[in-house]
C-alpha cells in the first residue's frame, strides 16, 4: 500500500481478503485511496480501519463491512450484508445498494448512508452514529437506540424505536408500528435545521424537503422501574 493519495487497485479475485485487510490496517496514521474489485460478498471487508483512507468497493459485500470504522471513508458500489458499519466510531460509510440486518448497529459516531433499503434492526442500540437511509428500513429498527440520528426517506417496519433512549428518529414515510415507549414528537424549526445540516453532510440536502419528515423519540416512561410494569417482565 502507498502512503500517498495515489489510487491503488486490489482485485479480490487475485488477492486474499486477509491480505487486503492487513494492508489496510497497516495504513494506520497515514492517508491513501484504495479501490477493491470482485468482493463477491466477502465478509469483514475493510473492517477495523483507523486511517485517513478512502476505500472504494466495486460490488456486493458480506457481513460486517467497515465494522468499527474510524476516520476512513468506505464507499460500496453494491449491496451489503448484515452488520454494515457495526460499531462505527467516526468516518463515513456509503452503500449505493441495499443493506441487510443491523446496519449501523451500536455505532458510536460517524455517518452511514444507504441509498437503497435496509432490512431488520437498522440502528439497533446506536450510540451516537448518524444513519441516513434513502429507502425504507425493516422491523425492530432503532431498538434501544441511545444517541445519534436515524433518518429514513421511506417507511419503517414494525416496532420502530422499541425501548428507545435519546436517539432521534426522522421518518418521511410511515412506520408500520412504533415499539414500546416510542412516540411521535413535534417537529420544530430547530429539528428541521438539524435535519437539514445532517442531510447536507450526507450529500442529500436538496433531495427531499425536511418539512416532510416526522420526528419520533422516547416517551421516557421506561427509564425507571415502575411497579405497575412488573407483570411485563
Amino acid at each position: 500500500m502507498t502512503d500517498t493519495l495515489s489510487m491503488e487497485t486490489v482485485d479480490l479475485a487475485a488477492v486474499s481478503l486477509r491480505d487486503l485487510n492487513a494492508g489496510l490496517h497497516a495504513m494506520k496514521g497515514r492517508s491513501g485511496h484504495v479501490r477493491v474489485l470482485n468482493p463477491r460478498g466477502a465478509h469483514s471487508l475493510a473492517a477495523g480501519l483507523d486511517a485517513d483512507l478512502t476505500v472504494e468497493v466495486d460490488g456486493d459485500v458480506g457481513y460486517y463491512c467497515a465494522g468499527m470504522n474510524k476516520r476512513a471513508r468506505v464507499l460500496v458500489r453494491g449491496s451489503a450484508g448484515p452488520g454494515l458499519a457495526e460499531n462505527m466510531m467516526s468516518g463515513l460509510v456509503h452503500v449505493t445498494g441495499d443493506a441487510s440486518q443491523a446496519a449501523g448497529a451500536t455505532g458510536c459516531g460517524g455517518l452511514l448512508v444507504v441509498d437503497g433499503n435496509t432490512s431488520a434492526r437498522c440502528g439497533i442500540s446506536m450510540k451516537g452514529i448518524d444513519i441516513v437511509v434513502k429507502g425504507s428500513i425493516g422491523p425492530m429498527s432503532a431498538f434501544m437506540a441511545q444517541a445519534g440520528s436515524l433518518v429514513v426517506f421511506g417507511d419503517t417496519g414494525d416496532a420502530l424505536g422499541d425501548s428507545i433512549y435519546e436517539a432521534k428518529l426522522f421518518v418521511r414515510g410511515t412506520p408500520k408500528s412504533l415499539g414500546a415507549d416510542c412516540v411521535e414528537k413535534p417537529m420544530e424549526d430547530h429539528h428541521r435545521a438539524a435535519l437539514f445540516a445532517l442531510l447536507e453532510k450526507a450529500g442529500a440536502a436538496h433531495a427531499v424537503d425536511v418539512g416532510s419528515f416526522r420526528r419520533y423519540g422516547s416517551a421516557r416512561t421506561l427509564y425507571h422501574f415502575h411497579v405497575d410494569n412488573a407483570s411485563a417482565y
Binding site: 463477491r40 460478498g41 466477502a42 465478509h43 456486493d60 458480506g62 457481513y63 449491496s79 450484508g81 448484515p82 441495499d98 441487510s100 440486518q101 432490512s119 431488520a120 425493516g138 422491523p139 425492530m140 417496519g157
Partner: protein
C-alpha cells in the same frame, strides 16, 4: 450456525444444471456448517412408481437389499446406488410393503425419503466431499434444497444431518435452534409421530408431519409452527412442486433471496447466490419475519 441453500428453476433449460449449481452453493456455505451436509433433489418421477431413498449402514450391500425387497414384493424393482444411499423405485401402491421389507432385510438402514420426485441424501463431512460422494453435480432436477450443519443441539451424526423428511415428497431444513423441542417431541410421540434422534429440527419436521396428517395444508402447518415452536429458526421446506420459506418473528437467522426470470434462489448468505447465472441483475430481497413464502410450479 448452519447454512441453507435452495434453488427453484423456472427455466427448463437449466434443469440439467440443477445439481451443479446446488453443489456450488452448498460448498460456499461450508463456513456456516462444516460438520455435515445434506440435500433434497426433485428430479423426474416415473408415473406409477415411488422413489424410496435408503441410507445403508457400513458394509451393507445395495444389490442384496434390492433383490430381497424385490422378492418380498414379488416384482422386479430398479435401484440406483449413490454413495452410501440407494434409491429404490417401487410401485406406488406398494410403498408400505416395501418399507416393511427394507426394515426386515436391513434393520440398520434408514429411509431418508419417500416420494414421487424427491431424493434426500445426507452424510457427515465437508459439504464439498458430501456433494461429490453422492454425485450431486451430475444430478438434474426442477428444484432442490441443501443444508450445511454446525451442530449445536445434538451430536454430529448422519441422523442429525438435514434435510428431514416430513412426508412424501416433503422435507425441511433448518438454521437456528428450538428451545422447546423436548416438550413438543413428547407431545408428538403421544400423537404417534416417530423420532430417530434427539435433534431439534427433527421435532420441527415431525410437527409439520403431524399437522399435515391432521389435514392442514402446508401453509397452515407452517403458520401453526409459528405458534407452537419456540426458538430461532429459518426454515426452508421442499414440496413436490416448489419450496417455501419461513423465519421466526425475530428473524434472528439470516435469509436472502434472489429472483430472476430463470429461477428463485435462497441462501443463508448472499455469498451462496453469487455462483448463479445472472445474479448481478437479480432481484435481491430478504424474507420478512413470521411470513410464509411459497414458490410453486403448480401455482
Amino acid at each position: 450456525m448452519c447454512g441453507i441453500v435452495g434453488l427453484f428453476l423456472k427455466d427448463k433449460s437449466l434443469e440439467p444444471e440443477l445439481g451443479r449449481y446446488l453443489a456450488a452453493m452448498l460448498e460456499v456455505m461450508t463456513d456456516r456448517g462444516p460438520d455435515s451436509a445434506g440435500f433434497a433433489v426433485y428430479g423426474d418421477g416415473r408415473i406409477g412408481l415411488t422413489k424410496i431413498t435408503v441410507r445403508l449402514p457400513k458394509g451393507a450391500d445395495a444389490t442384496v437389499l434390492t433383490d430381497k425387497v424385490g422378492d418380498a414384493l414379488a416384482t422386479g424393482i430398479s435401484a440406483a446406488v449413490r454413495g452410501s444411499h440407494v434409491v429404490l423405485q417401487v410401485p406406488e401402491d406398494r410403498v408400505e410393503e416395501a418399507l416393511a421389507a427394507i426394515a426386515t432385510v436391513e434393520p440398520g438402514a434408514a429411509v431418508t425419503s419417500v416420494g414421487n420426485a424427491m431424493e434426500v441424501y445426507k452424510e457427515v463431512g465437508l459439504p464439498a466431499d458430501v456433494a461429490v460422494a453422492f454425485g450431486l453435480p451430475q444430478m438434474r432436477g426442477t428444484h432442490g434444497i441443501g443444508h450445511t450443519r454446525m451442530a449445536t443441539e445434538s451430536a454430529v451424526t448422519t441422523d442429525g444431518a438435514h434435510p428431514y423428511s416430513t412426508g412424501p415428497d416433503q422435507c425441511l431444513v433448518h438454521n437456528g435452534s428450538l428451545s422447546n423441542h423436548n416438550l413438543v417431541r413428547r407431545r408428538l410421540i403421544r400423537e404417534g409421530i416417530d423420532f430417530r434422534t434427539e435433534n431439534d429440527t427433527e421435532v420441527a419436521a415431525g410437527f409439520l408431519s403431524w399437522r399435515l396428517r391432521e389435514g392442514d395444508q402446508l401453509g397452515d402447518a407452517l403458520e401453526a409452527s409459528l405458534k407452537e415452536l419456540d426458538g430461532f429458526f429459518t426454515f426452508v421446506v421442499g414440496t413436490e412442486t416448489g419450496f417455501g420459506v419461513l423465519r421466526d418473528p425475530i428473524a434472528c437467522k439470516p435469509a436472502v433471496m434472489a429472483e430472476t426470470d430463470r429461477y428463485v434462489a435462497f441462501g443463508s448468505e448472499y455469498k451462496a447466490l453469487t455462483v448463479l447465472p445472472g445474479i448481478e441483475t437479480a432481484r435481491i430481497f430478504e424474507p420478512e419475519p413470521a411470513t410464509v413464502y411459497f414458490w410453486d410450479r403448480a401455482a
